[in-house]
Point group: C2
């Protein structure tokens, strides 16, 4: 028996690095929280463009009964949405978790597993329509909570940091969340202000499309 909270994060080939590492960085600052990177099997997986390899330290069945699940997004979720082994694992994990969460398109996997049916949830702004195919309506919020369903979803990529701070508050207390925020000096002051569709220009959106066409997600 232990009082430690075990958080599992399942990166996969084609995952978005910051989706996984933002929450990791916040959560691992708290002494009562341990984070384990898991997957079908132990070993290396690669980010969307292949330029980053990270290690999964345990297979799914080596960490039974996790307390928290943080499902990251990335292009690879297109495959996972139809991977019955992953979907079964998500459903099984959700029976023991205190919180089941996602970042970015990780919510498409939760939706495919049936966890979001009838609820609101969010994803990366470019994939709202994909979420709607599961009958899930995304509001324009950065973090969407359904505390009574033990479900929290975050919008695109960096929003996982905001969600993780909220998770620390729910798992420990507000002071712990504030301590994590101070430790990672999360007092953002970007010199530009184009972080949401509502704030961006047509020229910037055109550039986003060019980057995506070149395979950069």
């Amino acid at each position: 028996m232990t009082d430690q909270t075990t958080v599992v994060i399942p990166p996969f080939d084609g995952f978005t690095a910051l989706d996984a590492i933002g929450p990791y960085e916040v959560l691992q600052r708290i002494p009562s929280i341990d984070v384990v990177f898991v997957g079908h099997q132990r070993g290396e997986v690669r980010s969307e463009n292949g330029m980053l390899g990270i290690i999964r330290d345990a297979s799914f069945d080596e960490v039974p009964g996790p307390d928290v699940l943080v499902f990251p997004g990335g292009f690879g979720t297109r495959v996972l949405e139809e991977d019955e082994l992953v979907l079964d694992w998500v459903r099984q994990a959700h029976t023991t978790t205190t919180w089941t969460t996602s970042v970015c398109t990780g919510s498409l996997v939760l939706a495919a597993a049936g966890l979001l049916t009838g609820l609101t949830a969010t994803t990366h702004w470019s994939t709202y329509a994909d979420l709607e195919k599961f009958g899930v309506t995304p509001p324009a919020d950065r973090v969407v909570e359904h505390l009574d369903h033990r479900l929290i979803t975050a919008a695109g990529v960096s929003s996982g940091i905001d969600m993780a701070l909220r998770l620390v508050e729910l798992l420990v207390d507000r002071t712990a969340a504030e301590a994590a925020q101070l430790m990672i000096e999360y007092d953002p002051k970007p010199h530009i202000d184009s972080g949401s569709v509502a704030k961006t220009s047509d020229a910037t959106m055109t550039r986003v499309i060019e980057c995506a066409s070149a395979g950069r997600h």
Copy 2:
């Protein structure tokens, strides 16, 4: 010959994950930028608490003449500050870079290599005194630029994201930086406001010290 910009990021045992992955996530979105994780030798290194392993895909001498260096921080910099092979590599890299940069305590390595002498620079708020030992004065800015010296340093952990957006503007143009910001949906709205020492409470600072005492950085 290639028009690609090569960014090298050297993670090391005891690195802070988000210091490296925040800038990676921003920079790798741009088609003209490639990122390579480098080190003494190829292979796995572990974050400060050992819960995350990432892969270095090249040794220092396999990527000669990098265009950009992003040095992450972490407790492991205490060792690197006295690692002459690393310090020599930093000095050599700086002879070819367009921009030599750091996140968090990565600036202590740049300082140990002599790159910051006589300049201002920043680091994690808890290590200002360590930087001052090198004769470097940290201002209270999130990103400190010396464009004439081709040097940029970022404050603690998450500030590397802000710095990387500025780097994209310097390397490409402002529209590219805005596109990267939109792609990672960097429109932060944390539900708490304790991301700097000036904003925090005594209770939160006490909790930070407790976390650090438990080995969580």
